[in-house]
Every structure is written in C-alpha cells, then in structure tokens.
C-alpha cells in the first residue's frame, strides 16, 4: 500500500514561518545531562498545585512520588533521580513566574538516565481495563506534553455527560525549530501506537487519527507501516495535514481533520473529540505497561546560537543552564532563550529555570533571528492593513482587540471576542507596523481575569 504523504487537511488562516527543523531533525534522541541537582516544580500542569510529600533532608528514590494533591484536576510529580531533598523552595517557573519546587541533590553515583522502555512483544491493550489505564496515568502524573499541561486522566477519563468518539493524536509539531515529537515518532513508533490504543480504550473512542504535518514524510511513513503491521490497528489511521502554523493547535486540528468547530470558549470533548500529543501517548504506554512515572521527557535543544543542537532525553527538573552547557554552551550572538518554539514559547531571563513536563524545546535565538522583528524596526501606528485578520485562525480581529486593550477598554476588547484568542501569535508575526498584538491580547486576558476575580 502506498502511503498518502501529501496533507489534505487544513484550516483557514495561519502563517508559514521558516521551519528551521533541519538543525535537529537528524539528531536521534540522546541521553541528557547528569545534573547533580534537579528542581522538580510542584506545578507542572493546569489545575491544583501539588503539596510536597517529602521534607527537607529526606532521601528519595528515582520514581518516588514527591508531590501530590487530592484534587480532580491535578497530577502528581515524581523524583527523576536517587538523592536527598536539599530544600523545598521557590524557583523561577516558565509559565507562572515563580513556584515552589522540590530541589533534589542527586547521589554522586546515581544513574540519572533511566533505561529505555521497550514494549513487550506480547503487548495487548485488551489486558487492561479503562479504569486501570486511567489509574496508571493518574499515578504516573501524565499531563499534556505538547504545551498546555492539562492532566491526561481528566481529559480521557470517562465522563457520561460528554461521551467521546474520536481520538486525535497530535504529531503536527507546527512550531518552527522543534523536532522532539518527530524523533519520538521515528524512534519510538511502536510505543506511540501502544499508547494510542491504550488511550483509545480508556476514552472509549471508536476511531483514532494520528495527525502529522506533511513536512515530515518519514514520520508519516513510519507510523503508517507500523499501523499496518500491528494487530488491531484498524480504526487508527494516519491523517497527513498541510504544513502550516498553527496546525498543531487542537481547535485548528479538529477543524482540519473532522471539519467541525469546537464551540468558542468550549473544549473538544463537547463535540466528542480528545486530542493528545504523541509524546503523551508514548508516556501513557510506558506508564501503563511498566508503571513508570513521567520523570523524563525528550527536549529539543536548538537555535542558531547553540553549539551542539540535538534531541535529549532529559530528567524533568534539570535546569536550562545545565542543559545548555551540556550542549556546548551558547555562542556570543545569543540574544534570547526561549522555552518552547519561537512562535509561542516563553522567553526566560533566569537560566536556573527547570525543565518541566511541558518543556518541549529550549530554543536559543540570535540577534539576527529576532532582529528583523524586535530590534531593527520602529513600531509604527496600525495602518489597518488587515493582515492580522487574514491570518487569524480563529477569525478574530486582533488589531481591534489589541487597541482596545491598549486603551484599557477591556469590555470593548471582549466585544471583539478577546477570550476566543488562542494566543498563537500569527498576528504579531505578520504585523508590518511591528505591533505586539498577541502580547496586548494576553495582557487584556489577564486584566479580564483580575476583573472577574474582583467581582467574584
């Protein structure tokens, strides 16, 4: 059977930033640095922050649960190493600014790398009940590894009000530079498929798609062949999608593949869909089959200013500084360190920020890369050219929202459906006047959240 390699599915809007994936797309997943200290954040997910389960000076084992919370939307955290708790202290957090972390001093000879998981040959997802799978996911602390970090068992667990029928496994990786999902799809193919089957069983979905952008033909081929050779692979198909940013946004992906709209302000389960990242699917297989918690993840360390870019299997809690040093440090031109890709990633100022479950990349950009955008050009007034409207995948009017926010008119901004913004950044990317539209909109959303808090 010949494999369909050209993407048929797409959505209106979006942009085509330079892909820059060639920096790391050929580098296979290598073991990461053996850090002597890791800082495991107690909040690596959306939802309730974990309470620490260990005290200062306690000895911990690799895989031991060190933080948990008895809340529905939460996920426990585990120690990636054998060692001793040095302190429980505030650390710089990429998303929330600062947060509590369990800082663990690794034992000198403790293996920081855990052995690679291999899927047993007699794997059969029928052996596991839906409850067992959900329980294993919950215990392993698995969250959406694509970026949002929503606890996975909440997403795929049974909900009688919103029955699910379609599972989409997201291997689009539409952000420039990042290749970690691509390498996972090439190297851990059978594990991903096992994860898809388990997730499908747990969520009760009847069909599943693996969505891959058509700039990754090798991944499309690898997954397609593995599905052909796998028992019970029917009902799972590969959906090649057009290469366009933000194809990997779940609302855009659902629109592209299923031609259906997730209601504004709603979530995919409202139309019976679950979207999981491929890395999450791989983690599910590992957690269910071998009971391994999520303590390591693949991180792409990339960008023009890094000496040795590559994909590394990194203990969660490793500081960005250690990771960059492990990759040969940065060149002099380094101007920005971004956790995630250049379109939606978060620029950090404190390099001791640890890697979390949702850190898919460390992108170190040079002045040249960001220069055309943020250094060289003067910001002018909006010339109302309408480019931001054309590229907005959610059909919003970014310039209207941003200017309302600028003048502190949050209700006007909300009148232009500010809350429907997915923060993809396409508007800022195309703006010839060099206005930080996405930044203004984000500010507006924070103002709105504060207003609501005050009223409540």
């Amino acid at each position: 059977m010949s494999v369909q390699l050209r993407g048929r599915f797409s959505f209106p809007g979006g942009v085509h930033p330079p892909e820059k994936k060639q920096l790391t797309c050929e580098s296979s997943i290598q073991p990461g640095p053996a850090a002597d200290e890791v800082a495991v954040m107690l909040s690596q997910h959306l939802g309730a922050v974990c309470n620490p389960l260990v005290n200062k000076a306690d000895a911990v084992q690799a895989g031991q649960k060190i933080g948990d919370r008895d809340a529905f939307v939460s996920a426990p955290v585990h120690s990636p190493v054998n060692g001793k708790v040095r302190e429980i202290a505030l650390r710089s957090h990429p998303v929330i600014g600062r947060g509590l972390a369990v800082v663990i001093e690794a034992l000198p000879n403790s293996p920081t790398q855990r052995s690679r998981f291999t899927l047993p040959a007699d794997f059969d997802e029928g052996k596991y009940s839906a409850e067992q799978i959900c329980q294993a996911i919950r215990e392993a602390g698995i969250v959406g590894m694509g970026g949002a970090g929503f606890p996975t068992q909440v997403k795929i667990g049974p909900n009688p009000k919103l029955p699910k029928e379609t599972l989409i496994v997201n291997g689009c990786e539409c952000e420039p530079y990042i290749t970690c999902d691509y390498r996972i799809m090439l190297e851990w193919t059978s594990q991903i498929i096992a994860g898809v089957k388990l997730a499908r069983r747990a969520s009760g979905c009847s069909r599943a798609f693996v969505a891959i952008e058509d700039n990754k033909p090798q991944a499309i081929e690898a997954i397609s062949h593995a599905l052909e050779n796998s028992a019970d692979g029917d009902g799972i198909s590969v959906a090649p999608v057009k290469t366009k940013y933000p194809q990997g946004g779940e609302r855009q992906l659902i629109r592209a593949i299923l031609k259906r709209h997730v209601p504004t302000g709603g979530i995919p389960p409202m139309i019976g869909v679950v979207v999981l990242n491929v890395a999450t699917a791989a983690a599910i297989a590992e957690a269910v089959v071998s009971g391994q918690p999520l303590t390591h993840r693949v991180v792409t360390v990339t960008g023009e200013a890094i000496a040795r870019p590559g994909n590394y299997y990194v203990p969660i809690g490793t500081s960005v500084e250690d990771l960059i040093e492990f990759c040969g440090g940065v060149t002099e031109k380094c101007a920005k360190v971004v956790l995630g890709g250049p379109m939606m990633g978060i620029a950090i100022a404190d390099l001791t920020t640890p890697v979390t479950k949702t850190t898919n990349a460390v992108t170190v950009l040079t002045k040249d890369q960001i220069g055309s955008a943020k250094f060289a050009r003067r910001q002018t007034a909006c010339i109302r050219c309408g480019r931001c409207l054309e590229v907005c995948p959610e059909n919003l009017s970014p310039t209207k929202i941003a200017h309302a926010v600028k003048h502190n008119l949050i209700d006007v901004a909300e009148g232009y459906f500010m809350s429907a913004c997915i923060q993809c950044g396409c508007c800022s990317y195309v703006c010839p006047a060099n206005i930080e539209l996405a930044g203004h909109i984000k500010t507006g959303k924070i103002f709105l959240a504060r207003q609501k808090k005050k009223m409540a």
Partner: protein, 337 residues
C-alpha cells in the same frame, strides 16, 4: 554566563515586513505611471511630482516638530501621499497651488487626526478636493501630451471628435451627455490613446496600461488584496454598462469609463489605502462597490465630469460603519453567555 538576553512576549520571530516596506512597494507600483507621465508631460511632470513630494514631506516634518512628536518620515507615507496627489493633478498646475494642496493633504488630511493610521480620509484626495473647491479654474485647465502636435485637427477623418485634442476624455463624455450627441463624437479608435495614455487629463491618470502594470505588481506582492480593485472596477463596469444599454447614443461604453479618468488610479492605489478602507474582506467588497457606484453616479448624472475623489472621500467616511457592520465572528461561533 549570559548577560544580554532579552525577554518579551511571544512570538519571537516575525516576517520581514514593515510599514516602510509596504509604502515602498506602493511607490514601486506607482513608478510606471510616473514614468509615463514623464514621457507625455515632460518637465511639467517632474516639477509637479517634486513639488508635491517635497511639500508633503516638509509638512509632515513640521507638524511633528510643532507637536513635539518623534519624526515619522521614515515610514515613507508622506512620499506616497505626495506622489498620488501629484498624479491626480492637472500637469501644468502652478507650483504654488500644488504646494497649497500638499500642505492641506498632509496637515489637515492626516496630521491633525494624529498622523498615519489615525486619518479618516485619504490625505491625497482631501488635498485634491480642497484644490478643486478653491481653484476650480486651475484644476480644470488641461494640457495635451507633449507627443501630440497641437495643430492636429479637432475632427478626425471619420467626422468624430479627435480624442487626443480634447480637454480630457471624461470632459467630452460629459459634453456628449449634456448635448445628447455621444455616438456622433465617439469612435472605437479613440480607445487606444486612453490605454497608452496619449490623451489629456491628470498627470498620472492618462495611461491605463501603466496603472494596470503597477496594480498587478501590488497584487503579486500581496501589498493589496484583490477585493477593493475588483469591487470598484466591477461596480463601475456594471453601472456604466447599464447606462450604455439604456441609451448607447448618449452614454459612452463602460470600458471607456474604466480606462478613462482616475478610475484605475483609484481602484489600485487610492481606494486600497489600508488606513481609510475597511478591515474585513466583506467590508472591502462593500467599500469598493460603493466607490465604483458613486463614481459612476457622478460621471453619468452629476455635474462634474469626474467623481473619483468625492466617492473615495464619501466611502472613507462610512468605513467605520462598514467595519461595524461586518464584525468578525469567531470560528467556533459566538460564545454562549
């Protein structure tokens, strides 16, 4: 390890596009029309273009100085205003008149509103309208192209009026309407001079081919979208066609209306001015249809031979209303409250 690292909100990369590059594209798009103007009107073209550009730029610089605002000349929008104004004026307009028009265009048309992006009306059209209202005679004193022998007979061999020696094609179309003798004075042969530009008229409006070339460049560069030009031209064609079908003896062919006067300059360079046009695609369609329809209304029914500037200003005024009419709804539908 790292001293000078920056933080900002995402995205951290952007398209190499700037307000200045958009304006430079427009200037390149206007280059063919400027070249043709230079060929047909020689030194007058150079004088008029230079006068308008210099006085527009100087006015913007002065306004910024007076208001103690940072210099904004590097976005090149004053140059674009100057060129468009010059191209829409009669070639032999006295220098002082052009200066007055430029100062009005930039100072009153743009800077009093707060500069680029805040103006309601197209600055060049505001300046031109001011001149029309104030110096009506000067603004209707036309010159024939330098390539035409002034002693050419006014009546061609087939007994129709020779288009090249008339004031402007639109002026005699108006004359034809008033005197009800369209078919007598009009012949198909005279369509060619209007295409290449060998007719009387405003500096940059005469050559349809040059304007189409420039418009094509802007479309290919995606500096403008096709919506406004398509809407303007199709509305003008339809309305011109209706008039022609009603009475082909009095009214000239619709193609003649597209090629003549400021229609093409308007469709590709004036109505597409992003600042004063609507944001949404549907809004652009309505805006363009309005510009085309009002222009034809003035040309066919109104007192003036040409209606481009009034129709553009009129539609500029309703642009905020159009934007409100076609407010975009999120892809997922209106949120449930």
């Amino acid at each position: 390890m790292l001293k000078d690292i920056r933080v900002s909100c995402a995205p951290h990369i952007s398209q190499p596009l700037s307000t200045r590059s958009v304006m430079i594209d427009v200037i390149i798009g206007l280059a063919p029309a400027m070249a043709v103007a230079g060929y047909y009107f020689r030194i007058h073209a150079a004088i008029l273009l230079a006068t308008c550009i210099i006085s527009c730029v100087t006015t913007e610089w002065l306004c910024n100085r007076i208001r103690k605002k940072p210099n904004s000349l590097d976005d090149f929008s004053a140059v674009v205003t100057g060129i468009i104004l010059a191209l829409s004026l009669p070639p032999k307009l006295p220098v002082w008149t052009a200066v007055v028009g430029s100062v009005f265009a930039v100072a009153i048309g743009k800077m009093v509103f707060g500069g680029l992006g805040a103006n309601i009306f197209n600055p060049a059209m505001a300046g031109r309208t001011f001149l029309s209202a104030s110096f009506g005679l000067l603004m209707t004193t036309w010159t024939v192209p330098a390539t035409i022998n002034p002693s050419m007979p006014a009546v061609a061999q087939d007994n129709t009026l020779n288009a090249r020696t008339q004031a402007t094609p639109l002026a005699w179309s108006k004359l034809a309407i008033k005197n009800r003798l369209g078919a007598d004075i009009y012949s198909e042969e005279q369509f060619t001079p209007a295409l290449i530009g060998e007719v009387g008229g405003s500096l940059g409006e005469t050559s349809a081919i040059a304007l189409l070339l420039g418009g094509l460049y802007l479309l290919i560069r995606k500096t403008i979208s096709y919506h406004i030009p398509a809407a303007v031209l199709s509305a003008a064609f339809v309305f011109g066609g209706i008039a022609y079908l009603i009475d082909s003896y009095v009214y000239v062919q619709p193609f003649f209306h597209l090629a003549g006067g400021g229609m093409l300059l308007c469709a590709f360079f004036i109505a597409t001015d992003p600042v004063t046009a609507p944001l949404t695609r549907r809004g652009m369609w309505l805006f363009g249809l309005g510009v085309g329809a009002v222009t034809m209304l003035i040309r066919i029914v109104g007192e003036y031979p040409e209606g481009v500037m009034f129709s553009v200003l009129l539609m500029n005024a309703v642009t905020p209303l159009i934007d409100r009419l076609f407010k975009r709804i999120p892809a997922g539908g209106k949120p449930a409250l």
